[in-house]
């Protein structure tokens, strides 16, 4: 089993979740209100009321095949709008 961590602006949340649902991942978890810093951009808490939106952290536990299926779609969103995606190992308890 794999664990996929996606972090990106909540403005792209709908697009990312659509991609996940299209690939029929078994489930996902979304944590909003994350802030942070990337190579170019800063995301701070006051972006919440200005409407710019803070980051969302999405976790997906799924098989590697599913990750291959969504890779291209997700990468193209993240490359355009910013955000990171990392994969690690996980075993169901």
């Amino acid at each position: 089993m794999k664990r996929l961590d996606l972090i990106f602006s909540e403005r792209e949340l709908d697009a990312i979740l659509e991609a996940l649902e299209a690939a029929e991942v078994p489930g996902y978890t979304v944590m909003k209100h994350a802030t942070g810093k990337g190579p170019q951009t800063i995301c701070s808490e006051d972006m919440e009321f200005t409407g710019l939106g803070t980051n969302a952290h999405v976790i997906v536990f799924c098989d590697i095949e599913l990750i291959e299926k969504i890779r291209e779609n997700i990468r193209s969103i993240l490359n355009y709008y910013g955000g990171v995606a990392y994969i690690s190992e996980a075993i169901e308890m």
């Binding site: 602006s9 403005r11 209100h33 951009t41 800063i42 701070s44 808490e45 006051d46 972006m47 919440e48 009321f49 200005t50 409407g51 710019l52 939106g53 355009y80 709008y81 910013g82």
Partner: protein, 331 residues
Amino acid sequence: MSHDLILQNILTPPVLFFFLGTLAVFFRSDLEIPAPLPKLFSLYLLLAIGFKGGIELQKSGFGGQVLPTVLAAIAMSLLIPLICFVILRLKLDVFNAAAIAAAYGSISAVTFITAESFLASQEIPFDGFMVAALALMESPAIIVGLLLVKLGAPKNRPNGRVMKWRSILHESMLNGSVYLLLGSLLIGFLTASNNPIGVEKMNPFTDKLFYGAECFFLLDMGIVAAQRLPGLKKAGSFLILFAILIPLLNAFIGIFVAQLLSLNQGNALLFAVLCASASYLAVPAAMRMTVPEAKASYYISTTLGLTFPFNIVIGIPIYMGLVNKFIPSIG
């Protein structure tokens, strides 16, 4: 005389609370207004501004100065982005120039209500229909900004990014704050026409509470604006100068137009403030969605970190000084 006005303006609660917030950052106090409380106050203010404006609009009708003023306001929100774009293109690329231009063509509702409070404390009358002008200046500025991108953007923009009319209209009319403001305006109008009891029952919430909530929100705006200042340094001296001089220029044009429209002193000040202020709510959100190439830190630090405090603290009394000079007092 402007000196006097500046001092009088600074000694009103909204501006004092703004300072309190700013100083909290400078003194590194841990005072903090956690999310989503600022959102609560901004939603509340938009709802209340719109609702009260709708009631006033229903009272005044569309006759007399109302329609010309509103149309002139819309014209200004189309014109100002063009002027700003030309200036900004001297140093910035199309994306950044268009995004900042749209912000300055649009308005800041909090600057507007601070000007109203200033007029109230000076006991200068003004008309409620000015809120209609406020509400109708956001969308056109966003549209102009997006059109500038559509026309000026390099041809190699990725396909998915080619701007469509549909999304331009969507972002300009259905952005959360624009939508809430326009919707509340309409509701205020309908309520005033059909349901006078409803108007009265809303009054404690939308009217009585307003001034205090404004102060609370300005406390937070002081904190946020001060936190934005370091970001300005990175933006460079061109943008810093822009953020202070353009409001003055726009206010000047605004007062000139107000004179042509024969607005009274109060309305003329509000008109000038609408021209001079820049949006940090609706426009940034719309630009973030449609023009991700523009740097959010540019259009946020200039509008929120510099133009907003400038207008709140010294802009409004300066414009009042100009209004006093150019617009005849009625009394």
